[in-house]
Symmetry: C2
DNA sequence: TACATCTGACATCAACCCATGTCAAAATTT
DNA sequence: AAATTTTGACATGGGTTGATGTCAGATGTA
C-alpha cells in the first residue's frame, strides 16, 4: 500500500454551514427546542410522562439529539427548572424596579409579578409548584437552593428599604423560608382550584402575611 | 350424566381459620403489611422506586396479594398518605389537649407535635413533604384536601381560643393556607438540611409567623 | 460532477414495569 | 385417611423505557 498523502480530517468542521446556520448555531437551536419541549411536556403532562421519546417528539427532533445536549432526562429537568426560576426572578426584579419605594407598594409589585407570571404560564406553574419535588435527591437540592435564593431576594429587598430591622429576631433564614413557603402554598392552592380567585386576592393574602411578619418583627426588636 | 347431588360450594369460606386467624383477619394483616411496606419504600427510596414488586418484597408477600387490597400502586399511595396525615393530625390534637389554654402555649404545643413527629419518622416526613406532589391529578387533589383540613384545624383552634377575631380580614382561607405552607416549607428546609437545627428553632420560627399573623389581624380588624 | 457531512426515521437491546396465571406444597377441614 | 382451601414461588405476556446503533437520503463543499 503506497503512503497515502491525503489524510481525511476526521473531526467535524464546526464552521460548516447547513440550512443557513453554522454547526454551533444549529446545536444551540436544538438545545433550545429541547428546553421548550421539556417545559411543555413536564408542565403539561407531568415529569412522569416526560420520557425522552415524548420530549423529542414534542421538540420535533430525534432521540440522538437529546443526548447531544443532556446526559439524561433528569439533567433536562434541572436545566428547565433553572431557566424558569431565573425567568420568574427576572420578572419580579423588573417589577421591583418599576415600583414606588414604599413598603406595601414594593412587596405588592413583586408578588403581583410572581402570580401574574404563573397565571399566564400554567406550564411553568405546574413545573415549579408541583413537578419539581420528590424526583431525586439531586433535584430536591436544586429546589432547596432556589428557595434559598428567593428568600435571600426578599430579605435583601426589605432590608434595603429599611422596612424593618429584624436583626433582633432569631432564625431569620427560617422565617423568610416560611414566607416563601406561604406564597408557594397560596399559589398551589390557586392552581389546584383552576385560578378561580382573582389575582388581587392571592396578592393581598400574601401581602398580609408579609406585612404581619414585618410589623411583628419591628415591634419585638 | 346423572344429576349430581353434591354441589361443591364455590364461594370460599371466610370463617375458615388458617394459622390461628380467620380469613378476614389474615386479609387485614396483609393489608396492614402492605401499608407499612408502602410507607417504608416510598418514604425511604421515593415513590418512583416504589414498584409493586419492591413493595411486596418489603412486605414479605406475593404480588397477588397486592391486588387483593389495592387496584394499583397509586391507590396504595393514597391510602398510605391518608393514614399518615390522620396520624399526624391525631398527634397534634393530642398535644392541644394537654396544652395550657393560652395563645402561645397552645400553638407551640401543636407545632412541637408536628415537628417532633416528622423528626422521629423520616419516612413519614419524606412522604408528606416531598413524594406526594406531582404524582397525578388525583393525588394532587388529595394533597389539596389534606392541606385544607390542616388549615381548618388551625383556624378552628385559634378561633375557639378567642385569640383573634380576624373576621374583618378578607380571604381567611388563603391566609390560613399560607400559614400551613409556611410551616411545611420550614419543615422541608429542615429535612433537606438533615434536621441539623434544633426542634426548638423550627418551632419558634413557625410560631413567630403565627403570632405575627394573629397580631396583625387583631390590630387591623 | 464526486465526495463529505448532517439529518431523520427507524431498529435494536437489555431492563424494567404491571397485571395475571400456573402449580405444587402447606394447612385445615371432613 | 381424603378433600379442600390457602399460600408462596415462579412464569408469562404485553408494554414502555433509556440509551445506542444503523443507514439511506438530504444538504452541503470541492
Amino acid at each position: 500500500m503506497p503512503t497515502s498523502i491525503k489524510k481525511p480530517p476526521k473531526q467535524p468542521d464546526k464552521s460548516r454551514r447547513y440550512r443557513g446556520s453554522s454547526g454551533d448555531q444549529r446545536r444551540n437551536e436544538r438545545y433550545e427546542q429541547l428546553l421548550g419541549a421539556g417545559l411543555s411536556v413536564i408542565g403539561g403532562q407531568g415529569y412522569a410522562a416526560a420520557s425522552v421519546r415524548s420530549i423529542c417528539a414534542e421538540a420535533g427532533l430525534t432521540e440522538r439529539y437529546f443526548y447531544e445536549s443532556f446526559a439524561n432526562r433528569e439533567a433536562l429537568l434541572a436545566e428547565v427548572y433553572k431557566t424558569q426560576t431565573r425567568f420568574l426572578k427576572d420578572r419580579m426584579l423588573a417589577a421591583f424596579e418599576k415600583s414606588e419605594r414604599n413598603s406595601a407598594a414594593f412587596a405588592r409589585a413583586g408578588l403581583q409579578a410572581f402570580f401574574d407570571t404563573l397565571h399566564q404560564n400554567p406550564d411553568v406553574a405546574r413545573l415549579l409548584l408541583f413537578e419539581i419535588l420528590g424526583v431525586s435527591d439531586t433535584i430536591d437540592l436544586l429546589y432547596y437552593e432556589a428557595m434559598e435564593e428567593f428568600a435571600v431576594l426578599i430579605r435583601t429587598l426589605t432590608q434595603s428599604l429599611g422596612l424593618a430591622d429584624i436583626s433582633g429576631v432569631p432564625n431569620q433564614d427560617m422565617i423568610y423560608a416560611g414566607l416563601v413557603g406561604a406564597v408557594l402554598q397560596i399559589a398551589r392552592r390557586w392552581a389546584l382550584t383552576d385560578y378561580r380567585e382573582p389575582v388581587s386576592s392571592v396578592v393581598e393574602s400574601s401581602l398580609f402575611l408579609f406585612i404581619a411578619a414585618n410589623n411583628y418583627a419591628a415591634n419585638s426588636a
